[in-house]
């Protein structure tokens, strides 16, 4: 009995040390960051010619219509701050730049906030233009703000490596970004554009960001810095947990609701989307797949089995990895077959949170070697970060 209590206390102590001492899953958080930043960036670039029709003030979902809807649902979008075309172009451009910044991991906490503001502003402006892919990006853009997702594979990590972690916040870009964001937040707050929740969130982000910079600058070895580190680790680990559970909820919901459908039960479900004009960009390919009853049945059943099973396979590394590969391949197939490239890319980016560290390190090393060969003979040294224990 006493032994049990002691053991439980020790275990709790170990967990507390882990979640306060490290931002777990540095490679996983980095790959999720890169995946979602790239997805949204490609989407914005692809839709650049159509941006006015999608989100512009004079698109079919006009500024006035959006205003009426947002009056009732109070969704967050800076695009409602002004109905001018210029403001819209600025927001779109900033969203592109924030995606690039997040992709490269430049001043990542600030760019992740900007990224979230960009995603939410554009999507909430025209909710009826989106689909499941937009929905995933929307959620992950919020969750990513919580994480320390630039520990590896980022410009921030490289700066910390070359200049030492204490001067990681050196340079003018940090304070400038902080000042600009502060001005924008202050404007939003003063004109009453934020709800209470957003006001509190932005104020907290801004104050802690400033505090962090001060402490890093003037007392890098002090206890204040250590406390902020602990808080950031806690927030990161909670954020990663939320991201992982969210992915499980997505698959569980998708799978369990399918089980209830007669078409998934009789094994013909996949046949029907292949016959829909909106989901068959390659009619010959769709017809080929739809032509085989056996193939359709196996793919339909396989989809349900994988989606329902996935959350449970997390308890077994090997099966989890096999299923992960299967799901990523299936999404790559969906990208082409059903014409949903951005949805598929977003889902693959979300799946990537479960990739094993060993694979990600291997992948990173390969990319680094390729880049070094391509760019210059002598580049920066390999990642010095110790490889965390595989999950």
């Amino acid at each position: 009995m006493v032994d049990g209590v002691k053991r439980a206390r020790e275990a709790a102590g170990r967990v507390a040390a882990q979640v306060t001492g490290q931002a777990l899953g540095p490679y996983q958080s980095a790959v999720v960051r890169i995946g979602f930043a790239a997805t949204w960036l490609f989407f914005l670039l692809r839709e650049f010619p159509n941006r006015a029709e999608l989100y512009g003030p004079d698109g079919p979902w006009s500024w006035a219509l959006a205003q009426r809807l947002i009056d009732s649902n109070h969704a967050f979008t800076v695009l409602m701050w002004s109905g001018s075309g210029l403001w819209f172009e600025i927001v779109y451009a900033v969203s592109v730049l924030a995606s690039v910044g997040l992709l490269l991991g430049w001043r990542t906490r600030a760019t992740s906030v900007l990224f979230m503001i960009g995603v939410l502003s554009l999507q909430n402006r025209s909710v009826f233009m989106g689909d499941g892919g937009d929905n995933v990006i929307h959620l992950m853009a919020i969750y990513l703000v919580l994480t320390r997702c630039a520990q590896v594979w980022s410009l921030d990590a490289r700066r910390a490596r070359t200049r030492g972690s204490a001067t990681a916040t050196a340079g003018a870009a940090g304070p400038v970004l902080w000042g600009v964001l502060g001005a924008v937040f202050a404007y939003g707050a003063a004109t009453g554009r934020f709800g209470f929740g957003w006001l509190a969130a932005f104020a907290a982000l801004w104050v802690v960001g400033g505090l962090w910079w001060m402490v890093d600058r003037y007392e890098p070895e002090g206890e204040g810095r250590a406390v902020l580190d602990v808080l950031a680790n806690l927030l990161h680990n909670a954020g990663m947990l939320v991201i992982m559970v969210e992915v499980c909820l997505i698959y569980a919901t998708a799978g369990w609701y399918k089980i209830q459908g007669s078409r998934w039960q009789d094994g013909t479900a996949l046949y029907y989307p292949l016959g829909l004009d909106y989901f068959s960009p390659w009619p010959a390919l769709s017809a080929l797949v739809a032509g085989s009853g056996t193939l359709v049945m196996l793919l339909s059943y396989g989809t349900v089995v994988v989606q329902v099973a996935f959350p449970f396979t997390l308890f077994n590394r090997r099966i989890k990895n096999v299923l992960l590969a299967v799901m990523m391949l299936e999404h790559a197939g969906i990208a082409v077959l059903l014409g949903l490239p951005f949805f598929s890319m977003a889902m693959i980016a979300a799946d990537a949170v479960f990739l094993p560290t060993g694979f990600l390190v291997w992948l990173g090393a390969r990319v680094a070697v390729r880049r070094r060969r391509a760019v210059e003979p002598a580049a920066d040294p390999a990642e010095p970060l110790p490889v965390p224990a595989p999950r």
């Binding site: 839709e47 233009m129 989106g130 499941g132 070895e221 250590a226 927030l235 919901t253 998708a254 909106y278």
Partner: protein, 220 residues
């Protein structure tokens, strides 16, 4: 990382390379960190529980706490993962439109029906990166309309009125370029629903006749 598993003696000066995590902090800060750990853990679990109740079918708990759940989930954490579930859509719903146009000569004519969805389909075909304006705009606008109207095409509340104006604007945007010399006075929309024929390898038969749902004329 072993160091943080053994807490240093209370009150001892922190070692110069500080132990990572909560172990490297002095007692008051440790209390702060512990409180933060508790608060963040509770917040994360609460959020996940609310998301779970939001995506789960209506149940005892989600009905009891409907207001709390909706208050937290909407608008930013809304999600719908019933992808092609419980059953995938089994019919092509094409939206067609026609316009009443006053020509340059002042005569008012009514155009024939244009299949707007077929234009979307043409744009999507053989494209690796179909655009949202082709894939989602009209399709979801029609869903929005049918979801916010009764069978007699009467709007139920503000959402219904919004969807009408949205559909009207989409139709005008797409019809107006066809009549460069005229003015579009009114538009009318209808849907043409055709079931996907039963697979040739199955013994089912499906009624593949096209059914129309015609909306009233709307003044532009």
């Amino acid at each position: 990382m072993d160091s943080n598993e053994h807490e240093p003696a209370e009150g001892a000066a922190p070692p110069s390379p500080r132990a990572p995590g909560i172990a490297g902090l002095s007692t008051p800060y440790r209390v702060v960190a512990a409180l933060a750990l508790g608060a963040i853990a509770v917040a994360a679990c609460t959020h996940l529980a609310l998301v779970f109740l939001h995506v789960a079918p209506a149940n005892t708990l989600s009905k009891q706490h409907a207001q709390t759940i909706d208050g937290w989930i909407y608008p930013e954490f809304e999600q719908n993962w019933k992808l092609f579930a419980p059953n995938p859509l089994q019919q092509n719903i094409a939206v067609e439109a026609r316009a009443e146009v006053r020509g340059a000569d002042g005569d008012v004519t009514t155009s024939g029906w244009h299949d707007l969805s077929a234009e979307d389909a043409r744009a999507i075909r053989h494209s690796l990166l179909p655009s949202h304006i082709r894939q989602n705009e009209l399709r979801r606008a029609w869903d929005f309309f049918t979801g916010s109207h009764d069978e007699n095409n009467e709007p139920n509340g503000e959402r219904g009125r919004l969807s009408e104006e949205y559909l009207r604007r989409i139709a005008v945007n797409r019809l107006a370029p066809r009549h460069p010399d005229g003015t579009v006075l009114r538009v009318q929309l209808r849907s043409a629903s055709t079931s996907v024929p039963a697979p040739k390898w199955s013994d089912e038969t499906t009624d593949t006749q096209t059914y129309y749902r015609e909306l009233p004329w709307w003044t532009v």
